[in-house]
Subunit: 416 residues, 2 copies
């Protein structure tokens, strides 16, 4: 007997989108998978035959909720070293400058990441990615930016690719060589931008390690002019662009990035109306990072009212990194965005699914429950969708399905 579908999930409430791409719920529904694709989404009452006749394998979601697999679209999860002691010092009142002077801060992570072998770096990163997967993530963006030379940036990006081989996760890489100027170039930052544009980026793109290019544009990082040079190089290589924009001060980076058709502008605490309208015109996603906002006790909130007014899609991500957002919990980010910024349940859930997919240029294949999309989804045994961002801390998924394959939860696997 041949079946129309490989697998069929019954009795589920689906978080999906309507014909206008707005969030909606399809209650008491079913979802079928064939190969790695979603091939049917419909209310239970519209099932055309007995489930066992339709699918080789039938699962009962028993009234649980189904969301798309969560997408963490902004992370620096591949790094070596430990900065927990530095955090303690900061809580005790030590300034960031004093910590940097004694060798701490981002340069400590750069040093440790450069020193680590590729295998050490992979081993250091696996537990963090496992923790993400145990919380419903199926797609993960990973930035370089703790290497700051060709060899070390390559190492990070290679580890990012390897993570997708050793763990059940889809990985998208972003080259962030322009994260901070490396110490050797402190007095000659233009020479580092030369190196980045002429050697590092072209070479790593050639090696197919780069899915997108990001620049941190700020007073303490790269200028608007330097940022534009890097964008031009990316464009010449036909690579999509992202930008750390307006986090600590207003630079006009978001408007610039929008002009270069950036997939996303990230952080945006200091973005102004002109930036937001430029982003809206170019369908650029706003990636908001409540973890860093919370951890830095920043105070300056991103301009949510403007982003809503101009209908800029808002994504949320962990920004997982050892200095400003040591977290692997994407659902906690949805809670923080709701609790600290007043985002709605629909906004935060679209922010870690559909709009996060758009921030990676992948909204045609992941991020929403649609026929034809890749079958990445999560089943939650909760009573109401709003519980996902109401509970804070840890909400274990009932099951995660990636590319049609039901996963053991990440924590089931043996740690190495």
């Amino acid at each position: 007997m041949t079946h129309r579908y490989d697998q069929l999930w019954l009795n589920a409430n689906l978080f999906t989108i309507d014909c206008n791409s707005a969030a909606t719920v399809m209650p008491d529904a079913c979802l079928a998978v064939t190969g790695d694709r979603i091939t049917l989404i419909c209310p239970m009452r519209q099932l055309s035959a007995a489930p066992e006749q339709l699918a080789a394998s039938v699962h009962d979601a028993r009234g649980g909720w189904v969301t798309p697999g969560l997408i963490d679209c902004h992370t620096h999860v591949v790094y070596a070293g430990d900065r927990s002691m530095e955090y303690r010092q900061r809580l005790q009142g030590k300034s960031y400058a004093a910590i940097a002077e004694q060798g701490g801060g981002i340069q400590a992570t750069v040093r440790a990441t450069r020193q680590a072998s590729e295998e050490q770096l992979l081993r250091a990163s696996i537990p963090r990615v496992r923790a993400m997967l145990a919380q419903g993530v199926t797609t993960l963006e990973i930035k370089s930016g703790y290497g700051l030379d060709l060899a070390a940036e390559r190492k990070i990006l290679r580890v990012a690719r390897q993570l997708a081989e050793v763990l059940p996760v889809r990985v998208v890489t972003t080259f962030l060589g322009a994260h901070v100027t490396p110490p050797a170039y402190r007095t000659t930052p233009e020479a580092y931008v030369d190196l980045l544009c002429q050697e590092m980026l072209p070479q790593l793109a050639e090696e197919r390690l780069v899915d997108a290019v990001d620049v941190f544009c700020d007073d303490i990082a790269f200028s608007i002019a330097q940022t534009e040079r890097i964008f031009q190089t990316a464009k010449a290589l036909s690579l999509p662009i992202k930008c750390h924009a307006e986090q600590l001060s207003h630079q006009g980076a978001a408007s610039l990035a929008a002009r270069y058709h950036a997939l996303s502008c990230d952080h945006l605490e200091y973005a102004r109306q002109a930036d937001v309208t430029a982003m809206a015109q170019q369908h650029c996603v706003a990636v908001l990072l409540p973890g860093a906002y919370y951890f830095l006790q920043a105070g300056q909130k991103p301009p949510l009212a403007l982003l809503r007014q101009y209908r800029v899609p808002m994504a949320l991500a962990t920004d997982c990194n050892p200095g400003t957002s040591p977290t692997t919990s994407l659902l906690l980010m949805t809670h923080l965005a709701q609790h600290l910024w007043g985002m709605s349940t629909d906004e935060v859930l679209l922010g870690v699914t559909r709009h996060a997919a758009s921030a990676l240029g992948m909204a045609d294949s992941i991020g929403s429950l649609q026929e034809g999309h890749i079958a990445d989804f999560v089943i939650w045994q909760i009573e109401h969708l709003a519980q996902l961002s109401y509970y804070f801390g840890y909400i274990p998924p009932h099951q995660t399905i990636k590319g049609g394959v039901p996963q053991q939860e990440a924590s089931h696997e043996q740690s190495q």
Copy 2:
């Protein structure tokens, strides 16, 4: 061949206490278990023979860290119903009074909990307790207080006992019939205290469902005089006392509870010096609840400086409940206490181990890694102990051992 120990863990860094009960670390150490007890703790170099000769089963912690099993010493985790929608309304600016008027607030939980069958209540609570266990908890206090009549309070306490049978967790019950005055007694609160002291508490104690007695003493709950009546009843029944004290206003409840030799006073945001010295004299533990502080955006911090000055042991707990602290993440509480209140790593880790055990009157058998103690402990694959409260969100334990038995992590089990 007979072995001296059943199990031996090698190459671990132990979070333990020194002869003055202060936090200390024993690096490069081993830990042996016989039956359900810890029977050896010593540096690796002091092992008297080859590990295989000493123990039937030898495990390599590979440089990981070992803490006592985490103890969540203040929870309301047994409840029915969902208040996530009410949370959304509050974020949208609706007042608590308005929500209560439309049937929301604590009375909504009381209604749902009364309506649930014992089995339904158990099923509703299991996922929350599972989530706690997946984060390293081995002992859990559970309060009643959403029943407010004999039958419903009994149901909650029976479910609390059942949780310890169906899941690998030690449960300590607390009778909190004096949580809030039930609607039927709103104009005659003294009659409810009569009922509580003359019928409910004696009957439930008789049924061995009550390990301790708690009272919420505040303007919106029970008065000092009512609280003292309930304490007297508890004393007459030889039951230890706890108290929700000084959370929303100063009542003098902490001093009163200390006079009655309370195990702990909990919340304490508005406690004053006289309360703290009374607690210190009576060795009463301060149970601090950063989740409720954070979730309510309360602003008034507990008097940490005074508690330190008078050496009152400080425990931390989730306060897991649907209205003011919807969280199951005890480690996130250690992070919040560090991040929002400036507690140190040692303080927060003692707060969820040794001092949490004291808050339950169990510091002689659990809460610290000591020979003779029950073998409840957690292995963490982290580089430094400070990482446990530096990461926020979810840190998966490598393995949890309860009563000498290595557990599958809670998330491994089939959900029902």
